[in-house]
Structure formats: C-alpha cells, structure tokens
Amino acid sequence: MTAAPIAVPLLEARALCFHRQDEPVFAPLDFQLHAGELVLIEGDNGSGKTTLLRMLAGLLHVGSGELRWRGAPLQRDNCAGDILFLGHQLGLKGDLSPRENLRVAAGLHGDRDGISIASALATIGLLGYEDEPVRRLSAGQKKRAALARLLLLPASLWLLDEPYANLDRTGIALVNQVLETHTAAGGAALVTSHGAVSFHGGEPRHIRMQA
C-alpha cells in the first residue's frame, strides 16, 4: 500500500560529494528518493553517513554535484521546514519538559492536522513523562521525545541519523511502525543504521556508502 512513485522524485542527488580539506569524504553518490519511499544508508564508521544527512538537511554546503528537491535545485527557501533532521544531538532543552520542547518546535514549524502534542507523546510511549524535565529522562526516553517531534511536525522528508540508538526492543518496533505510517502517508525517509531493520512492507532499498 505505498503511494505510486510520481514522475518527479522528492529528492535527487547527482554525483553528490562532500569535501573536507579538499579530500572527498565519500565517493560520489547518485540516488533518487520518491515520495512514500524509505531508504537505508549503510556504511562503516567514518564512511560519511552523518555528513551526507547533514548535507541533505542543508547544514553543510554541497561539495560538488547536484541536489534537486521536487525537480528544482535544492535551496533553503524551497525546502525549509519540509525536511526534518534528527541527529546525534537531539535538539531538546534539558530544562524543559517533552511537552514544552514540542510546543517550541510546533511554534516554529506548525503541526500536522489531527495530531496534538499530547497524542504525539502518547504514541511515542512517553505517557506520564510529559512534564518531567528532559535532563531527568533516560537516554532512550530522550530519543523518544525527539522522535515525537517527527510525529508532530509537518514534513515530507525525514533524515534520521541512527534513530534506533539507545532504544529498547519496543522502541525499535515503534520507530519501524512510525516510519511505515510516514511512508504510507506519502512521506519519505532516509535512515542510517548499523542494525538490521525489518519492515512489514518488504526490505527497504539500501544506499551503500564508501569512503
């Protein structure tokens, strides 16, 4: 039940490369990502997975090659807010509760129709911890609080760097389920992961990164 791929890919990379001190971080990449698609990015430590995601998010400038967003060159103006990035640093304020953190995020991004902060937190399994300062939560709960942001904010592309880290078995299942819901609704996601990921909708496509 995935959305039929439309002609124009959501995100397209052509000979994409990133240079650090004139050294290419990874071999040139070509890929297309369509709406409703989930792609796993695989590679060893230091192969540039995080760098790639940060570049796609717009935090790093493109070294060489081309990035296109919905058919047009990717710029800050035409994709702002439509791409969500979740990195190793979760972007949560330790002194604020999950609820307050989400309120700030929704204040900047807006929220999806039919989902509230409370329901996002309940879905992600933080019921009862909504008003606890984030710094008192466990690493896995912090991760969940950050994942709740994905549920709440309207965006079509998720860039998730190691979303399974620190999560228990139910947490991992939850991430899989959230990803499936997102892609079924026409969203797309790029996910880096070391562990094996299982989806009901069949094996996701892989991008192999080489240093």
Binding site: L59, A80, Q89, L92, L96, E100, V104, G107, H109
Partner: protein
C-alpha cells in the same frame, strides 16, 4: 497543516528562552550580585568622600554594568550549540536572523534589565545626585542592548572555539568604547547641567543600526559555525 506566522514563532522563541532563564534563575542573579559587589568596592578603595565618588559614579556604574553583562554573554548560544537546538532552529522554516533576534532580546531581558533595575541603588551607593539618575537609566537603556547585540555577533563568531570567554572579553571591550563614551558623556553633561540629548541620540542611532545588522551577522556566523 499550516505554518505558524512570524509573530507566533517569535513569541514561541521568546517564551522558550525566558522559561529557560527562569528555570536557571540563580544564574540570572550572578551579574546583579557581581555589579553590587564591584560598586561596593569603590568606596572602600577610594574612601567615602562624597565629591570624589559623585564625580566618578557614572563611569563606575557604566563600566560595572558592562563587565557584569560580559559574565553572562558567552552562554548566549553555547547550550543551544551543544544540545543540537541550534541545528533545529537553522532548519526551521522561519527567518533565522529574526529568531536569533528574539534570543538576543530574551538575553537582554534576563541579564541587562535586572542590572538597570538595580542601577538606582548603585547610584545611591556612590552618591550620584538624584536628578542625574534618569539620564543614567536612559543611557543604560540604549547602551545595554547595543552591548547585547555586539556581544551576540562576537559570540556567534567565536562559537565552537574552546574557552571563548576570555577571547570574547578581549574582542568585545574595545568595540564597546564608543557606546561607553557616549553614555558617560550624557551622564557627565547632565551632572554639569549641560544639554545631554546629543550623546543619547547618537546612542539611539547606533542602536537602530545595530538592531538591524547584528541579527543578520549572527545568523550568517552561526550558519558558518555549523557548516564544518
């Protein structure tokens, strides 16, 4: 789905930073206590001679407030860089300069405003004549946002360097000299019964200019800091 307007985004940002400051209100008290203690040291060192203290009171208060503001300055963006909040802010569909402007406003409200509130007390401790105090407050109301804005640009430029606190002081203090001269000039003029409007207007003009340019410079500097 609808994107929130600028006003809603600004108020969300402002509320976030004010809440965070309130959760750490003991940090907020530090610059105030520092200013109180430093001002108290001068009469001890120089002797409780009214005429001498009166003559230098304006300058002492201005310098003390400037130094007290420095104490809290390097925390302006550091925690947001450490926990990844800044990345999220950069990626949000809102103008980054405006959001940083809100952060600077929150910073001014939580560090400079308490200092301005205790200024009449500091002035009384140094026997500054009562009619001069409103001029001193006006000068501080214009000079402290200037310092916050200048400081924010420098904090953004030194973001990511270790122990940026000292470097920040070395870079910021020379930049503050013009603001200090105009503010002190206004206070001295008021003390001597001369017109003090001109230096105040200069301060206001500088503030307007900085208000427009500093957030843009901050945004550019922080984008560069993240792009590495």
């Amino acid at each position: 789905m609808s994107r929130p307007g600028l006003t809603a985004a600004c108020s969300a940002m402002l509320r976030r930073d004010l809440t965070l400051a309130w959760r750490r209100r003991s940090d907020m008290a530090m610059p105030v206590l520092y200013a109180l203690i430093v001002t108290m040291l001068f009469p001890f060192a120089l002797g409780p001679e009214d005429t001498l203290l009166q003559r230098i009171a304006g300058g002492i208060i201005l310098v003390t407030v400037l130094l007290a503001m420095l104490l809290a300055l390097d925390a302006m963006f550091s925690s947001d860089i450490e926990d990844g909040s800044l990345e999220q802010l950069v990626l949000a569909p809102q103008p980054l300069a405006l959001m940083l402007g809100m952060k600077i406003l929150a910073h001014w409200l939580t560090t400079a405003l308490p200092l301005i509130v205790i200024t009449p007390l500091l002035a009384a401790m140094l026997h500054l004549p009562a009619p001069v105090i409103p001029v001193l407050l006006l000068a501080l109301l214009l000079a402290t946002p200037l310092l916050s804005l200048f400081g924010a640009v420098l904090v953004a430029l030194t973001a990511g360097t270790r122990r940026s606190g000292m470097l920040l002081a070395l870079m910021l203090l020379p930049l503050c000299v013009p603001a200090l001269i105009f503010a002190a000039g206004a206070v001295t003029a008021a003390q001597q019964g001369l017109p003090w409007l001109a230096p105040i207007t200069w301060l206001a003009a500088a503030l307007v200019l900085t208000l427009v340019l500093a957030p843009l410079a901050c945004a550019a500097a922080l984008r560069i800091a993240l792009d590495s």
